[in-house]
Symmetry: C2
């Protein structure tokens, strides 16, 4: 039998997870955990690169994110969940890898370039932010992940990682590091409840896995739809209408959804009817998550124990990688 | 009684140490070790920033440098000698500090700027090289050093460290980090045997602490002097004449040296006479170092044990610093 392939995924703990995270990655992780050795990293160190002035927020969300994981069914018996800052080997690898990458190469990274513009850092970009792709290479290689689920826009990150892997293995004449393959899962990218491209905390357009039934109802009932669909009898647009995007992602009854789309486009189907259907579907989906989450959050020590166990497991693997790396770099002093 | 002040010094293990190192820093460390809690770091990680393609050289010189230390009288009972790569807390601190420094600030560092030009890196400077001042800030702060002996040209490094210390302590509302003061020792800067400003391995103009008596003789007898001092009767120049620079640094008989200088400047004192004097002085200085070194190198395990002990001591201090830092950053998970 082949060795089980190793997959690494993770999240920055900067806020609770929303249904966009679920559709975009958590759902996929539930599948992956049965077929891969899966590591899920709570990236507190990476979160600090753009939240360094707000460490308490990061700290609090570590627990929230862990609760979200467990509530949706990430199973600690199958998936190793760990906290990035507790794996010092990642920092050590990052320092070694920084010698293998030029500053200009980092500046040309398309993902980082876009983010620097979006965040308006301009010439004031911190060294920590610019070099976070190198830190990601360390995350990926420290657990010897051979595949990483990413969106198309994250492909440059995998490229950067593999460049480092190849350079390292060539210079130090080793196979200590493993190249990673991008797994581009077929997942839905959910827009915000306001129709904007992305859900985000700052825009207030996200439905959280931890939202109460009341809040979910409010958010769905106030969702953006086709602004030209004024009367029930008007034909409405399905594209760019987040209510239908959500139904596509969460309503298993594809046939009914298609019928509703057709009806909506012809005219005669009111927004309220569609939203009520979505509300029903979302509550049915969220209710078990919500109650598991409530139960879990009564015993935060148990949650921390899951993180502790996963972190210790990861450290063991990290130490093995580090010992190979240091051996290849002639940095093995034997003590 | 006041707490003993903490001093950090160190060397990149890229070659054996020479008499320039002795005059410029080792002599000073022999004084410091009686008055300070002294840490001496063998900076293998930093050496890799510009020797990443040659790790074996770095590795071999770790032992050579340690032998040099012990041979000149750095006393492990007074001075803690440690290996940088074995203190992962330095890498962890570096990653945290990188968030507190902009890329532009690093580019403006005068020491780094000069070195980038000297090494001809231009636009191909690696991320590791550009950010090595941040790594130095981690070296200094991890042992809570409050003073660092540096040359004038290294002052920007201390400034950069203290900027990071102040930013960290302000943002994370802590006094976990300590500012460091530059100790600018009154030391001689020895030129090379060829009269060039600096001794260096690549120029082949250095007298090593480990050179045999034969090699020392050869090097001194071939030393550059005043090129216009052709005949013994010609007046000679003392400035820019490395033979006199070395006498100034190593000949305790200041009066005789002054008389020789006067005589040389008036004319009538041949280079050979001065060189013979220097040879005598240098052999007397180097002989005990050489024999201690020979003795020590017969038992490399004992040398490694010194490094091991110092490294473990340093790790303890580093872990204390790290726990304060992580506490301030809300990254203390209790496991």
């Amino acid at each position: 039998m082949d060795r089980m392939r190793i997959v690494l995924t993770g999240d920055r703990p900067t806020g609770p997870l929303h249904i966009g995270h679920y559709a975009g990655s958590l759902a996929n992780r539930l599948l992956l955990q049965d077929r891969y050795k899966q590591y899920v990293m709570i990236a507190d160190v990476q979160a600090l690169t753009d939240n360094y002035e707000n460490p308490q927020k990061v700290r609090e969300n570590v627990v929230e994110v862990a609760l979200d994981y467990l509530a949706v069914g990430i199973d600690p018996a199958k998936t190793t969940i760990f906290i990035q800052s507790l794996i010092p080997e990642i920092a050590e690898l990052t320092i070694f890898y920084l010698n293998l990458v030029t500053v200009n190469r980092l500046r040309r990274n398309p993902t980082v370039k876009t983010e620097i513009n979006q965040k308006g850092y301009g010439e004031n970009v911190t060294a920590g932010f610019l070099m976070y792709p190198v830190s990601q290479a360390a995350d990926i290689t420290v657990v010897r992940a051979d595949c990483v689920p990413v969106g198309e826009d994250q492909l440059p990150m995998i490229e950067q990682t593999n460049e480092i892997v190849r350079t390292f293995n060539r210079i130090y004449r080793t196979d200590a590091l493993v190249e990673a393959e991008a797994l581009i899962p077929k997942v839905a990218r959910l827009p915000g409840t306001d129709g904007k491209a992305k859900m985000s905390k700052s825009l207030g357009n996200a439905i959280y896995l931890s939202d109460s039934a009341e809040v979910v109802k409010q958010k769905i009932m106030n969702m953006y739809t086709d602004p030209n669909h004024l009367r029930v009898t008007d034909p409405g647009k399905v594209e760019g209408n987040p209510v239908f995007d959500y139904l596509d992602a969460f309503d298993a009854d594809v046939k009914t959804v298609q019928e509703m789309k057709d009806h909506y486009q012809q005219g005669g189907l009111g927004d309220m009817v569609v939203k009520k259907r979505l509300l029903e579907i979302m509550q049915a989906f969220l209710e078990p998550i919500r109650s598991r989450r409530a139960l879990l959050s009564q015993d935060k020590k148990a949650v921390m124990d899951v993180l502790k166990k996963g972190t210790l497991q990861t450290r063991e693997v990290a130490q093995q990688t580090m010992s190979r790396v240091k051996n290849a770099m002639h940095l093995d002093y034997g003590f």
